[in-house]
Amino acid sequence: MTATENDFIQAILTNDPQGLRELYRAFLPRISRFIQLNGGSADDAQDIFQDALVVIYKKSKSSDFVLSSKFYTLLYGVCRNLWGNQLQKKSRTEVPLTDDHKFQLTTDISKELEAAEEQRLFWDAFKKLGNDCQQLLKLFFAKQKMEVITQKLNLSSVGYAKKKKFKCKEKLVSLIKADRRFPELRLN
């Protein structure tokens, strides 16, 4: 692999805005065209592109990951699978992709793909929360102690922080449950 190919993986792993911007410029138009030729909108393409990069992030985080193809081949394969799954769910009538439904990938990402839909729903709900709830829940889910959260966010007391945490999480849960995709989610 050339250095550039692995640079894309590095940009994802280190959350490097400049590298990620290059990645968007280089690949989003192609992915977007693919999605739009297969019954999706530009917004669908944005979501799929983001979800695919998160899938790749999760996969490349594990120590046994080796980029065994061109980066674009991996990205395209993940996008294709994600969009294929969504088409299957969205449409009662068959809207097949132009050729095979599941693009063959040399890297096994089935586990990450499965989680992607649920994570998209969770993330869409999370985005709707106010900034203060987002900050608080991020710390909470990162397993920070309530005392630490209280201090970091400059809250009046631990009791208040706990109350607020509950309110924010309740809001998040209700947004998730109100989502039309929620009934199709298989939680276990």
Partner: protein
């Protein structure tokens, strides 16, 4: 509810005493609803456990917005084969997002950052309009004579609207304690059918114009306007304006 959340979190975190755990597991095996709730909490905790992953999502959101501002202006809507009827809501959403994108500068004034916001109202704005009564309103401030006026106007798209329909419009400051108990003012508005616009492609919705004026708030800041149903209960739409 709060107690249940704490219990579930303690259970998932392995923080329950042996007795409590046994009792909770017994409750779990008897109660499918509780099992579903625990599963949701577990998945949430797993999904959001990695701060780097969330930071990556946030960077990607930011980049998507950058891309949008360069590509959406030239975006075209392609006709779709009729059998893909499920696409329409997506297209409608895209069109609304596009509309909002162009409206945004006029509401917020050169995209400058707002000093304070009310997260609860922000979430309602984010949620978008009610699908039955689809409002697209913007507000701006007019200086007329001595008193500045706040003008809220725009369109309501609906399939049908009874002749004497009215909605309640309230204006709030950005102070979280003001919403929903203390609107700065509240008024009734009656949409008028706008016959200059043909029914829209999706769902045959008709356009109604909405316009009202109110005294502009004295203090500078962000103000929210909220449209409720006639009874003043359900929130149908919310928007914001920066004054002056």
């Amino acid at each position: 509810m709060e107690e249940q959340y704490n219990k579930i979190e303690d259970y998932l975190g392995g923080m329950l005493s042996a007795d409590d755990q046994t009792a909770f597991e017994a409750a779990l095996s008897a109660d499918a609803e509780l099992r579903a709730e625990v599963a949701l909490h577990r998945q949430l905790a797993e999904s959001f456990a990695d701060p780097t992953e969330l930071a990556l999502r946030e960077t990607l959101e930011q980049l998507a917005r950058e891309e949008e501002s360069t590509t959406k202006k030239t975006a075209t809507v392609r006709p779709l084969p009729a059998k893909r009827g499920w696409m329409w809501p997506t297209l409608a959403l895209a069109a609304m997002a596009l509309g909002f994108y162009f409206l945004l500068p006029s509401i917020m004034g050169n995209g400058s950052k707002l000093p304070t916001t009310n997260p609860e109202l922000e979430a309602i704005i984010e949620r978008g309009s009610n699908p039955v009564y689809d409002f697209e309103l913007s507000a701006n401030q007019l200086a007329s004579g001595g008193d500045a006026q706040l003008r809220i106007e725009g369109e309501l798209f609906a399939v049908n609207l009874p002749a004497d329909s009215s909605f309640v419009v309230e204006v709030y400051s950005s102070a979280p304690e003001d919403f929903p108990a203390k609107p700065l003012y509240s008024t009734v508005v009656r949409p008028v059918e706008d016959t200059s616009q043909p029914p829209m492609g999706f769902g045959g919705k008709k356009a109604f114009s909405v316009a009202l004026e109110a005294k502009a708030p004295d203090q500078d800041g962000t103000y929210y306007f909220v449209v409720r149903d006639k009874a003043g209960e359900e929130i149908i739409y919310a928007g914001k304006v920066k004054a002056p």
